[in-house]
Amino acid sequence: MSKFKKKSGGGTPGISTASLPDIVFMLLFFFMVTTVMREVTLKVENTKPRATEIKKLERKSLVTYIYVGKPKDMYASQLGTEPVLQLDDAIARVNEIKTFVISSREEINEQERPLMTVSIKADEDVKMGLITDIKQELRKANSLKINYSTRKGEVFGEDR
């Protein structure tokens, strides 16, 4: 019976923290893997409109982005206040889209090229004239899959 005798010495034993670094490292790796460093610095205002019927964009590597909006205040002196478009880090004109889209299509595997999507990230105050010109350019570049980037949210919110 003495086998099950209580060990002498009271007090709670200290909790081992030896595995704490492991746990923290696990979290660290998770965040390192999921982090996407922002690749472009936005030079244009970009408040995306809201929509409810949205689909997620998968395969980020197959997506090319076109940003449209008014230049931010700090660039207003050079670029004016009319909406412009931004491809990668540079402000561009509409007729440059074709070359841009074609060159980014070259970077994708041959089999996956038909899956390439162009995501139009336009500010909600942009006029449709500019968007239409962009769409026409995309049609000329034969890049027909597009995505109007939106935020998730009710369309008829209180800010209307």
């Binding site: 923290v24 409109p49 809201r50 689909k55 909600e124 449709m128 597009i146 109007y148």
Partner: protein, 188 residues
């Protein structure tokens, strides 16, 4: 020289370093998932089609948006909020009676024959706001999605998103999404 035992490296601060890195990545992480409305553009043709295939006028649901973001639907002024219901009524009209899954159909002779033939035609002005355009696109997509959802519930008792691929395709074909966009004009 006497052999000395290597002193052990104190790993107590490892957790601190890892925490520091962890917090850095926590702060810099942006977990935004890109989402939006998917559309397909028509291919570019230098020469326009000589004569487009004839479509009965009653099968076309025209939506015009002017530069002041006002809507003209089937020649009548309409608020954005009513567009979804109007589109649903049009798609689900079942004028020729061939659609056996359309419930609550009006069967009006001046509206679409059946969902397979119904086409929504959207035209906007160059001065239309992008926000309004997206809202219109969203409402039209919502009309299709709601009809599909209703059909999925009726046929399978499940939500459209939970259906398997084959059933999804069937529901999609029941209400094919046909939104045609005309090139913008100056409607004024």
């Amino acid at each position: 020289m006497a052999k000395r035992a290597l002193p052990e490296i104190n790993a107590g601060s490892m957790a601190d370093i890892a925490f520091l890195l962890l917090i850095f990545f926590l702060v810099t992480t942006t977990m935004d998932v890109d989402s939006g409305i998917n559309r397909k553009l028509p291919p570019w043709d230098e020469e326009q089609l000589e004569d487009p295939p004839p479509i009965k006028k009653k099968n076309i649901f025209t939506v015009l948006v002017n530069s002041r973001n006002q809507l003209l639907v089937e020649d009548e002024y309409m608020e954005l909020e009513d567009l979804r219901e109007a589109a649903k009524r049009f798609l689900n009209n079942n004028g020729d009676g061939s659609c056996d899954y359309c419930t609550g159909a009006l069967r009006s002779q001046t509206s679409s024959d059946n969902p397979g033939k119904a086409i929504i035609s959207l035209q906007n002005d160059r001065g239309t706001n992008y926000k309004t355009y997206i809202t219109v696109q969203n409402e039209l997509a919502a009309a299709y999605n709601e009809l599909r959802e209703e059909l999925a519930q009726r046929l399978y008792g499940k939500s459209y998103d939970d259906l398997d691929d084959k059933a999804k395709e069937e529901v999609q074909n029941a209400y094919p999404q046909k939104i045609s966009e005309a090139e913008p004009v100056s409607l004024g």
